[in-house]
């Protein structure tokens, strides 16, 4: 009965809402500008911060400006992968909003010329008469068009006085320009190019304000990063959630935990040792996603570590006349071991992602190529080893073992994740050295800290 009432209530609400489910949405132009702003996320993510992009744009502006000043005309053909445009909105002159610009030097304005001109834009204008300056940045793929496609109609006086001719995006949509552009653009960029309306299509002043509000420099870039993260979180198609291919670059610190069944084969030594080894290294791991959450990891790691072995040598002396019996002496000795190790791990991983966090568990096998150098130390009571710091053995070993660990990462940008990866590893020695080393198993725990890169666009 109670459930029926609830069901009835829900049903009435649902039907009412579905009658004519609609609500006034913002105009398409607003959304398209939003789409455009996220068009080059991967590139901006690479630059990591607003500041970097701002500096980059400033340098680009200076370079282009100085180039123009020095030559008096644009020289040859140039193209840039990205341009940033910082515009202070001119009082009463908003015709340039939301448009990519192109300029060439006025001295270069030869309408009949077939020369390829450069579409590079980096323009900084200031207007001291108005405080509500609006900054926005856009970033495009290289765009090249013929100078004959640039009509001189829309050049402002100010622009001409600066020896620059400005052109709206409309010129980019000319047939010739479109033809040239299409060779450089992906499907998505084709769509974007078409979606971004020229200012002439935005009749309403409030829409123009919206566009300006949408694209303040910092906000837009932050938004781009946020957007990228959100896109990765899409749950309808989980395969978009995880990057298919990533590379981990890391530093490694490891502590040796223990040895088992080490039975030196000369001197009849009884080992009684507490390894105090530690090592440092670096590595590169390649991660390849094979299913929604599962991936394969493989790579190389190199680590160099030192540890000391302390052991007791039991010396039994038989006494002769006039006494009889035996005297047992325990002599202590120590050796220092330096291992240089190249590991080739193959692991299976399971990854979980949230908004910005990545958690991963991985386990697998380790193939190790190692070089062992064993030296005696000064603290040595064994007569045969009175020489200190003498190399008593050098072995090359190929060993195998296993490694497992968990990784916690934090997404810094859409191309970069920082991570910490505590791990445990153990290995089995398949071979003993002739001189001394006949260890069977060594285990260690360590920490990898590094950066994960991916180069896949969303």
């Amino acid at each position: 009965m109670q459930q029926d009432k609830e069901k009835y209530f829900d049903d009435r609400i649902r039907r009412k809402l579905q009658e004519e489910e609609s609500y006034p949405a913002p105009p398409f132009e607003v959304v398209s500008s939003h789409v455009k702003s996220s068009g080059s996320n991967w590139l901006r993510g690479f630059f990591m911060s607003d500041l970097m992009l701002f500096l980059f744009s400033g340098m680009l502006a200076l370079n282009v400006q100085s180039g123009l000043n020095a030559n008096g005309r644009t020289a040859g053909t140039k193209s840039v992968q990205s341009h940033t445009e910082v515009i202070s909105s001119h009082s009463g002159q908003n015709e340039s909003l939301n448009s990519d610009r192109t300029f060439n030097s006025s001295q270069d304005a030869e309408p009949a010329s077939d020369k390829i001109a450069t579409v590079t834009s980096s323009d900084i204008r200031n207007d001291n008469n108005k405080n509500d300056q609006s900054l926005y940045a856009t970033s495009n793929q290289a765009e090249v068009l013929k100078s004959s496609d640039i009509s001189p109609d829309n050049h402002s006086d100010k622009a001409q006085s600066d020896s620059h001719q400005f052109q709206n995006l409309n010129s980019l949509h000319s047939p010739k320009a479109a033809q040239v552009n299409s060779q450089h653009k992906s499907y998505e960029e084709d769509l974007l190019a078409a979606y971004i309306s020229s200012p002439s299509t935005i009749k309403d002043e409030s829409q123009q304000e919206n566009l300006v509000m949408m694209t303040p420099l910092g906000a837009e870039l932050n938004h781009s990063l946020n957007h990228t993260i959100q896109t990765r979180e899409l749950t309808t198609t989980p395969q978009h959630y995880y990057k298919p291919f990533t590379i981990d670059a890391m530093f490694i610190a490891e502590k040796t935990l223990g040895y088992n069944t080490i039975t030196p084969d000369i001197y009849q030594l009884k080992l009684n040792m507490a390894p105090d080894g530690h090592g440092y290294g670096a590595g590169l791991l390649f991660n390849y996603r094979i299913a929604n959450h599962f991936g394969l990891k493989a790579g190389i790691e190199t680590i160099r570590r030192n540890y000391n072995l302390k052991y007791n040598y039991v010396q039994i002396t038989e006494l002769m006349w006039p006494d009889s019996g035996t005297v047992t002496e325990i002599l202590t000795s120590a050796r220092s071991v330096t291992e240089t190790e190249l590991r080739v791990p193959f692991m299976l991983s399971y990854t979980l992602r949230s908004d910005r966090w990545i958690f991963e568990g991985a386990a697998g096998v380790n193939i190790k190529f190692k070089n062992l150098t064993v030296r005696t130390t000064a603290n040595n009571q064994i007569p045969a080893e009175v020489l200190s710091a003498v190399e008593v053995g050098n072995s090359h070993l190929v060993t195998s073992g296993w490694m497992g660990g968990v990784l916690a990462g934090y997404q810094l940008s859409n191309t970069m994740v920082v991570f910490l990866n505590p791990y445990f590893q153990a290995e089995t020695f398949g071979k003993s050295s002739r001189q001394f080393y006949t260890g069977r198993a060594v285990s260690g725990a360590g920490l990898k800290a590094g950066v994960r890169f991916h180069f896949n666009r969303d």
Binding site: Q2, K5, E6, Y8, F9, D10, R12, I13, R14, K16, L17, E19, E20, E21, S22, Y23, P24, A25, P26, F28, V30, V31, S32, H34, V35, S38, Y187, E188, D190, L191, A193, A194, Y195, H227, Q230, T231, E233, L234, T235, T236, T237, H240, D355, D458
Partner: protein, 187 residues
């Protein structure tokens, strides 16, 4: 403008430059209503709508047309809205007090006379926790188990929030209707 979803998908396959505009114009109103229901105010709903359509554009080449395009887009909008809600750190307070939904006798008349837009705005004015659970349960047909998993809450919290949402929404609908009646009488 293409009338059906197949034509829209075809436009994207043919890389028609007008495809996204048409898609937007076809679904923006409906999806804005979805976003409003979840976000509660126009500005946040607009942001979610924009983000949602950006995702739609990015993932459109991978759309396999196994279900309806509208359903797919709606799901993306809902996910985007849920993401925004999680980012806003909405608190879903568990209440031990047992609530029961009581259907008011004047509810039928009130719901008949209220417009869809008014109802949408009333839902939007519910507290975020109530609103989210109510939307997921009533409109998206989620079970309490699914809601609990989606929002990281317990099933009992989900039930409690839903009951409170129903009671509050019913009160608001009836009050809205009464206030309209009152203003008509004063005229």
């Amino acid at each position: 403008m293409p009338d059906n979803e197949e034509e829209l998908i075809g436009l994207f396959k043919r890389k028609d430059p007008d495809a996204f505009r048409r898609l937007y114009e076809r679904f923006a109103g409906k999806m804005m209503a979805v976003c409003m229901r979840y976000m509660g105010n126009r500005d946040e709903a607009k942001d979610v709508l924009q983000d949602g359509f950006v995702k739609v554009l990015h993932h459109m080449p991978g759309f396999r047309a196994e279900g309806s395009l509208e359903g797919w887009i709606r799901r993306i909008m809902v996910n985007t809205a849920l993401h925004a809600i999680r980012r806003n750190k909405v608190r879903f307070t568990a209440d031990t007090q047992e609530d029961r939904f009581k259907l008011h006798t004047s509810f039928d008349e009130a719901i008949d006379r209220i417009s869809m837009k008014e109802l949408l705005e009333l839902i939007a004015s519910l507290p975020p926790g109530y609103r989210t659970v109510f939307n997921l349960f009533v409109m998206e047909d989620f079970s309490h188990k699914e809601i609990a998993a989606e929002l990281g809450i317990t099933e009992s919290t989900s039930r409690s929030q839903l009951t409170k949402a129903r009671n509050m929404l019913q009160d608001m609908i009836i009050r809205q209707r009464n206030s309209v009646n009152k203003s008509l009488h004063t005229l």
